[in-house]
């Protein structure tokens, strides 16, 4: 166990090491996305300038914006801005944040373009709320089913966990989203489904996402609880006269929570970056919908900004998860 000053030194070293690794990861992700965007077909300048713009105007705009420079040159320039907290301006979106179509090439009266940072800052809280609620729903289902399944290996609770996980993972999220919207919103009128006018609009998409991630949590819990219950320390604890509930709660679950925690970290990070389909179906104004529109419109700065933010979130969440896991099980070294 790291205690006192040693613990603080450990934390500081840990943070420095992991943050340094994180910076490298974010840098590599940024470079990869940056390069890929520039080699795939589809000219963003054509979208910005409009279909009627002659080729020489397109070339002129692209040159003025530095889009014809070598990719490494563009990347260094871009990262220079990022290091100063400037993610650039959207190629397409006006400051109002609306998803827009192309305008005419000789139109110098377009509204000011939106800052990428503002667009992400406006939409990320919605996705965060959705991800947290989805995680809460998933845990509400996964904890009892997974733990009970792990405590009764080979029995019906274990089979229930297995069947439920198999069922949930087999449901395509776009299909489930539409069916749930039809049943809970259209037929029963219990929940609103489309857009966002308040907290209630988060519930249906969160249920769909919860169904998507619950099988992983259930499986992880079932396996790790069952595994821990077979360990010697559990048998010894019973011999020491510790009650069954305490053995399960304080010993088996505590140790089983480490893999669960890691999985939660990964799933949560994936939720932040991977809610595309669900947000699109429910027209939920989060990062996912923003990403889809940015990709469709070849909005390079926005795609890059979202990639940097989500990869940074991934790194930070995993650092937190590892820190918490270390405090639960001090034997772990990260």
């Amino acid at each position: 166990m790291h205690v006192g000053g040693g613990f603080i030194v450990f934390i500081v070293n840990f943070l420095i090491r992991r943050l340094a690794q994180g910076v490298i990861i974010v840098f590599l992700v940024s470079f990869l996305i940056f390069t890929l965007l520039r080699v795939i077909p589809g000219d963003p300048v054509r979208l910005m300038a409009g279909g009627m713009a002659p080729d020489h105007v397109i070339d002129q705009i692209a040159e003025d914006m530095g889009l014809r420079d070598p990719i490494p040159v563009q990347f260094v320039r871009y990262m220079g801005g990022v290091l100063q907290g400037d993610l650039g301006q959207s190629f397409i979106r006006p400051a109002s944040g609306a998803a827009v179509g192309g305008a005419s090439f000789d139109d110098n009266t377009r509204s000011e373009r939106a800052e990428v940072f503002d667009l992400i800052a406006d939409t990320a809280p919605f996705t965060l709320q959705l991800a947290l609620l989805a995680m809460a729903f998933a845990l509400i289902v996964a904890l009892p089913v997974g733990i009970y399944g792990g405590l009764r290996p080979g029995k019906w609770p274990d089979r229930l966990a297995l069947y439920m996980g198999s069922l949930f993972i087999s449901l395509p999220n776009f299909w489930l989203g539409i069916v749930l919207a039809l049943v809970l919103s259209v037929n029963l009128g219990w929940l609103p489904a489309i857009g966002y006018q308040g907290f209630a609009y988060t519930i249906l998409p969160a249920i769909v996402l919860a169904v998507e991630i619950a099988p992983f949590l259930i499986r992880s819990l079932t396996v790790s609880v069952a595994q821990n219950m077979r360990e010697n320390y559990i048998s010894v604890a019973a011999i020491r006269g510790i009650g069954h509930r305490r053995i399960v709660m304080a010993h088996a679950l505590k140790n089983a929570s480490v893999p669960l925690l890691n999985l939660l970290g990964v799933q949560f990070s994936m939720l932040l970056g991977g809610v595309l389909v669900v947000e699109f179906i429910f027209d939920y104004p989060g990062l996912g919908l923003l990403t889809i529109n940015a990709v469709l419109q070849r909005d390079f700065p926005l795609i890059q900004g979202i990639a940097i933010v989500t990869s940074a979130a991934f790194v930070v969440i995993n650092i937190i998860v590892d820190l918490v896991a270390t405090t639960i099980d001090p034997r772990l070294e990260y």
């Binding site: 109002s96 998803a99 139109d107 539409i178 919103s185 857009g195 027209d283």
Partner: protein, 522 residues
């Protein structure tokens, strides 16, 4: 084992649950019947509110709520020429080159400025500038003169341009009247930042993908009954229909045929179907080989059986045999419109030097998916029919943004060899289609440069009376277009809207614009 403590804890928790108001978490989707009209649009807007800066249909539809028009034309098939005066009290031809517009007094813009003749003059002169992307006008600003003898009278004189002043009659129902003050502030002024009109709803803000409008109590034809309109871009058709079904949306647009079936018979949903002002076209890239050869274009037209396309479209398309919609001025079923005729196709292919299609290069046919109904499906039909006659065609289906990127003509010819697109303009004026696409000064998509067609377009524009103009369009211009075939008009779109049955009093124009000034939830 149940202990006394755990039992009490459970009872306490159960009692606590009864105190939680579930409405905090769950609000019924049907609970908002007194809210503004929620319109879900299939198309996004541009980043510029200047009405002359774009040709985007969804934004034109937003303008219809906010802006005022000198007149409006309902454009119903039974009476396509009907005109109702709005900001104008009368529009009179003084002679072939002079038009007098008498304005309605006492009208104010939403910013409080009174509407007067100077605003009409400024709108006409600004909108006709050659650099304005919308290009609505029969000629550039220096081809006509607008004078204002008094605050309520406007005279348009087209003698400098040599074309008839009557062209402004139909345009009057299409041009949103802008404030002279806004126009004077220049292209980077308030004109591009927000809408300022005299219509029934006032522009409040653009909030993400939602355009927020509120009722303008001083609207000159009576204050609207609904508090406002929220016009939202929702890109996914399934999402729009789910919103309609659960009562969140008041109106949705551009229904696919199977969606019409889904909604038909629902007691709380009403469907509106109307022949629109939009024709859908197969445009040929006429400025590059091989479709720079009219024989080959015509051969391709004779390879296409439009009856199959109508079957694919179901209720979303209506047959027509001209390059303009049947509700446009000058429409007539053309006797020489190219029909499905494989023998004639083969004859023309041979005459063009490509017997059975031999020697033709690989041809690319570009279409979109996600906006217009059934484009991919009928695109596959057209591709198969062309291949059957020997055209080596490949269909390239693109998402809307990429398709839009590839739509227009450019130096050396636009991308691909054929492209699918509709053209919709909310006025009976045929030149908004014909001149825009087939005159060498514009040639938006085709890249067509044909002096004979140019001459006839100029001739009909310069006709001294509407009747003479109609005759030239019907007997000379459109028959020549059918013969030279720079495009094939496939069908006229049927605009299908679904709306809540309790929303009554809406008037839908055939370009998709809506007059909601008398609408109410009943």
């Amino acid at each position: 084992m149940i202990t006394r403590r755990s039992l009490l804890a459970s009872v306490g928790a159960a009692a606590g649950m009864t105190q939680i108001d579930p409405r905090f978490f769950i609000s019924s989707a049907y609970a908002q019947t007194t809210e503004p009209i929620i319109f879900l649009s299939a198309e996004n807007i541009t980043g510029n509110w200047d009405p002359t800066a774009h040709t985007t249909l969804s934004q034109k539809n937003i303008e219809a709520y906010v802006m005022g028009y000198l007149s409006r034309t309902p454009m119903r098939p039974e009476n396509p020429d009907e005109t109702n005066m709005e900001l104008a009290e009368s529009i009179t031809l003084l002679d072939g080159f002079r038009l007098e517009i008498k304005l309605r007094p006492g009208v104010k813009f939403h910013d409080g400025e009174p509407f007067a003749a100077k605003d009409v003059k400024a709108t006409f002169e600004y909108g006709a500038q050659p650099d304005r992307p919308a290009q609505w006008y029969p000629g550039p600003t220096d081809s006509f003169e607008v004078t204002t003898p008094d605050d309520m009278t406007v005279i348009v004189d087209t003698s400098k341009g040599g074309y008839a002043a009557s062209l402004f009659i139909f345009l009057a129902s299409y041009l949103p009247m802008m404030s002279a003050k806004d126009i004077a502030a220049g292209p980077n002024g308030p004109l591009s930042q927000r809408l300022n009109g005299t219509g029934p709803f006032r522009f409040v803000e653009q909030r993400g993908n939602d355009t927020v409008l509120e009722a303008y109590d001083e609207y000159f034809m009576g204050a609207p009954k609904v508090p406002g309109v929220n016009y939202s871009f929702v890109g996914d058709a399934t999402t729009r229909i789910l919103s309609m079904l659960n009562g969140q949306a008041s109106i949705i647009e551009r229904l696919e045929p199977e969606q019409i079936e889904t909604l038909t018979g629902k007691p709380n949903i009403t469907l509106s179907k109307m022949v629109s002002v939009e024709n859908k076209y197969l445009w040929f890239r006429c400025s590059k080989p091989p479709f720079d050869n009219p024989l080959l274009r015509k051969a391709a037209c004779h390879a296409i059986d439009r009856e199959i396309i109508y079957e694919v479209l179901g209720e979303s398309g209506s047959p027509s045999k001209n390059f303009i919609s049947p509700i446009k001025f000058g429409y007539i079923d053309l006797d020489n419109y190219p029909e499905y005729d494989p023998e004639e196709c083969q004859r023309l292919l041979a005459e063009a030097g490509y017997p059975n299609g031999e020697g033709l290069p690989e041809l690319e046919y570009i279409t979109s998916v996600g906006f217009y109904p059934k484009t991919k499906e009928y695109g596959e039909v057209i591709t198969a029919l062309l291949q059957e006659q020997g055209f080596p065609v490949t269909l390239n289906v693109m998402e809307v943004a990429a398709w839009n990127e590839n739509l227009y003509d450019r130096e050396g010819g636009g991308p691909g060899h054929m492209i699918d697109c509709g053209w919709s303009t909310g006025s009976p004026e045929p030149d908004l289609v014909l001149r825009t696409h087939f005159h060498s000064s514009s040639k938006r998509i085709t890249g067509l440069v044909d002096p004979d067609i140019d001459a006839l377009l100029d001739k009909e524009r310069s006709a001294s009376t509407l009747e003479e103009r109609r005759r030239i369009i019907q007997e000379e211009l459109t028959p020549m277009l059918a013969d030279r075939a720079p495009a094939l008009s496939l069908f006229t779109s049927v605009l299908v809207h679904a709306m809540r049955s309790d929303l009554q009093g809406l008037f839908l124009y055939p370009d998709g614009a809506i007059d909601a000034s008398k609408a109410a939830f009943v």
